[in-house]
Symmetry: C2
Subunit: 353 residues, 2 copies
């Protein structure tokens, strides 16, 4: 925990002074004051994190953490567990939605095996960081050991640090793992003291009967494990997932080094919630890209007081919503950098100024 505590201790709120300066600059641009809404607040947030008034177009990466879940055996997903492995191959050959959307927004896509059940060949263009071959079934006991959780978090920390060392300034959260909406519901339920039914949805696609079954599985997992809601590491150990723990590490390391974090859907938001409970200041670095129809996503975003940018009814994960959110962040920085001021353009400013 020492290394993690060091990181947490170094996370600071955004720089208010520079944000005031950039708002003054935004107010001189040829548009009514505040009329670009979220584009203005995103530019301000980026500048407040990066502590520069003249930010260049940011280099962006989506970190896609993949892992398996023992609970997948409980018939909680529309897809069999082997799809996690199969999708890794799909990511590697460029055929998945996140490949298309990461390219669309010009973001690097970093694929990480942090706990896929299958052995993955060394030649695959992924980071091989397998902590273990999937978690245990949380309906029967703890997902993993505390050591596993800490290892997964530190994997995320190290990957984020390496990306940042190489110039990445914005990180989007991606994940893949059959069964991980079930685990996310358990984490969300415990950390926010919500009933499982409030934070459990159809995931990749379940009918009403299977959804009711999934809610029961979440309830039973919480009952048998009795995680300590005030101890994030205990919650991740008992009902967590390796990809969620790793993303928590990515978030903490990113915020520690002034990198904005683009949250994706429900699963990524549970990592955001976990990081927030470990360090509330991390929230300053969050951008909520979109709102998923998974009910738990909205509950978490409200808990974090975050307003999503996009309402596209997307519920795929992989970082797909984060990728689209990045296009809006890019636009916000172009507004800051490329628009003319009232003086430059010889346009009269507001009568009410």
């Amino acid at each position: 925990m020492d290394k993690l505590q060091d990181i947490i201790a170094k996370i600071t709120p955004l720089d208010d002074n520079i944000m005031t300066k950039v708002q003054t600059r935004l107010d001189t641009l040829t548009k009514p004051i505040g009329s670009l809404g979220a584009l203005e607040s995103l530019a301000k947030q980026f500048v407040g994190a990066r502590k520069t008034l003249t930010p260049a177009a940011p280099h962006k990466a989506i970190v896609l953490m993949a892992a398996d879940h023992g609970v997948a055996i409980e018939n909680v997903s529309a897809y069999p567990q082997e799809v996690t492995e199969q999708m890794i191959y799909n990511f590697c050959s460029g055929g998945a939605a996140i490949n298309v959307l990461a390219k669309h927004t010009n973001a690097d896509l970093i694929l990480v095996d942090v706990g896929v059940t299958a052995e993955l060949p060394a030649h695959l263009p992924i980071l091989h960081r397998k902590v273990r071959h999937g978690t245990n079934n949380i309906r029967c006991g703890a997902a993993m050991s505390e050591t596993d959780v800490m290892q997964a978090i530190h994997i995320g920390v190290d990957i984020a640090n390496s990306l940042i060392d190489n110039g990445i300034q914005v990180i989007g959260l991606g994940e893949m793992g059959i069964g991980n909406t079930t685990v996310s519901s358990a984490i969300a339920s415990v950390l926010m003291d919500k009933s499982p039914s409030e934070v459990t949805g159809v995931g990749t696609g379940l009918d009403d009967k299977l959804l009711a079954h999934k809610v029961n599985v979440v309830s039973e997992a919480i009952a048998i494990n009795n995680p300590n809601a005030n101890d994030v590491i205990d919650v991740l150990t008992k009902v967590g997932g390796l990809e969620i723990a790793s993303l928590t590490g990515v978030i903490l390391a990113g915020a520690c080094r002034n990198v904005l974090i683009i949250i994706d859907g429900f699963i990524a938001s549970t990592a955001a919630l976990a990081a927030y409970r470990l360090c509330p200041d991390v929230k300053d670095y969050f951008i909520a890209a979109h709102l998923s129809p998974e009910p738990g996503h909205n509950v978490i975003l409200q808990e974090l007081s975050l307003t999503p940018l996009l309402y596209l009814q997307m519920r795929l994960g992989e970082g797909t919503g984060a990728a689209l959110g990045m296009t809006i962040l890019d636009a916000s920085l172009k507004i800051l950098n490329e628009m003319a001021t009232f003086d430059e353009a010889k346009v009269a400013s507001a009568l009410t100024d």
Copy 2:
């Protein structure tokens, strides 16, 4: 009216047959059925309009119609009327928000003077289509003659046709004109039988007192003109604007030639409402890019049963929201064209299939 009736008669609903085929294709891609939400429906809408199963990346244009409004004299805007002219120069030199965002989404920006009060030099890189030097003050009588309205509509028709002749497949609606939220509120109030206070907002920025004054101006304009709510041309004549009439023409010509129309904010949405009342089938071609905080925008989008993609609290106009919406449409077509199928990627499809 003859030419316009010909156009309206040729507007057809989207091609259901090809849309069913493309949904089948979308359902074979490596993602849970329907999990890309609006990205799937946008791709389907584009294909249904273009009637091709293999759409290339679309060429896009934003048509920015500029005009002045006699009602600007009534202290209904935070900005003086000369800002319309000044902003034209700003658009021409690339310093406005729409310049930045059109470039961001790789769309052509077509600037049109359809009724700016000032004389604009012939050398400016705009289309000089001035119908008249601004409208009359609608608080005192009709904005313009029916002949003016028809001329403005046909200007929009001709510009859209010319763009489409040159390969444009998607058109975003932009506008500039100090005072045009006041006019839009009057149009929206009449066409939807809503009280002026329901559809009038702060525009470029008014305090509570000036907002109440603006609502009064809208009420008085409607009272003195008594437009026939069942006659769109009469409404535009009595309380309309030249840029709104021209955008109505753009919409009708675009839909007639299978081009999707990206609605921007409140003012553009009044043109969409006008076109819809002239031809309900035009609605199939609409994409609501974003939701503005102007209250009338939401009322119109609900009237048209449209769900906006972006919630960015933007209230600038110019086509800025439409430009950002285009980035989502582009992403949707890349999803359709570039993702692998379950078979291609050797990924197991849903157990519940």
